[in-house]
Assembly symmetry: C2
Homo-oligomer: 187 residues x 2
């Protein structure tokens, strides 16, 4: 009966992260992840292409979230306003309250060349989603690319600072600091 429970995806993610932590990423198999979640291997593959993908599911969802936010922004909104609001939503929906899990995920990604590569690809895909959003809003190619790449830089640099720090600054406050730093350096 458990295989039909609607939270299969989250259970698989949690089981995978637990096993990666307990026995290492390389040693963890898909059947072991499915068994820990009380689900079948087949169910696993309905949700994820492979065990690596478990670690990047949130990134794929981030690209979708970004595309929705950009399409829903008022026609007259300035790019910087869209970026600021988008980063706020991303911080609140995808990051805040998950610092320990995301620190652990970062360790895992750093430990494996294949995971690092996939991380770079997901980063490029996020930049592409933002660029496409600006193109769809009528911006020129170079401007859309510049805004998209800079947005992704703000996300990555802010998340790194947030994961590195032990104070209780919120991620969105750090994004604000980084935006101010960007202004101070290049403005």
């Amino acid at each position: 009966m458990s295989r039909w429970r609607p939270d299969a995806r989250q259970r698989l993610q949690q089981a995978a992260l637990d096993l990666f932590a307990e026995q290492g990423f390389a040693e963890t198999t898909v059947p072991a992840i499915a068994a820990r979640a009380g689900l079948t291997t087949r169910t696993f593959f309905r949700h994820f292409a492979d065990k690596r993908e478990v670690l990047f599911a949130d990134d794929a969802e981030a690209s979708v979230l970004v595309a929705q936010l950009m399409a829903g922004a008022p026609a007259a909104a300035e790019p910087l306003t869209i970026i600021r609001e988008g980063l706020r939503a991303l911080a609140e929906n995808r990051f805040e309250g998950r610092k320990a899990a995301l620190r652990h995920r970062r360790e895992l990604v750093r430990s494996d060349a294949g995971l690092q590569e996939r991380d770079l690809r997901k980063r490029a895909a996020l930049a592409e989603a933002i660029r496409d959003g600006f193109l769809a809003r009528g911006l020129g190619a170079a401007r859309a690319a510049l805004l998209a790449e800079t947005s992704v830089t703000l996300v990555y640099v802010s998340v790194a600072e947030w994961l590195d720090s032990d104070d209780d600054r919120k991620l969105d406050d750090i994004v604000g600091e980084m935006l101010a730093a960007l202004r101070a350096e290049f403005g």
Copy 2:
């Protein structure tokens, strides 16, 4: 006698690019590249780890160039000045005058998932070289990362615009335009 000529590296690069253009990247073998250059396969492997690496040799050299430039900049130089001078040197030494070859290289990279991945890794390595340069100059981790990622964004967005355009703007002029655009958006 030809195998001892000092320009083996450049000859191998040219032979590889010619063959990639004539018969495609996937169809071109290392022995064929070496033969076209009048050199042995062994000589090829003294210069490049594999045929992919031929396309990224310049990127690796760019990271070295960047590290040298940053180490050689005056102690009192502002980060933005170092970035501006570094981008100028990079544009002049690695890009200007090679638009046709670089356009062709871009097509090749776009055509192959493995090449795209390596391109992302080289981009990350360039950001890391710049970040390390700023860390060595005593900047904090977040500031060094923000400056490095933004520098790489400026390089990539400017090169894309330069390769896309058929006018005779110099790459360094486009870098200046992008820097002004960054100021206008975020300043």
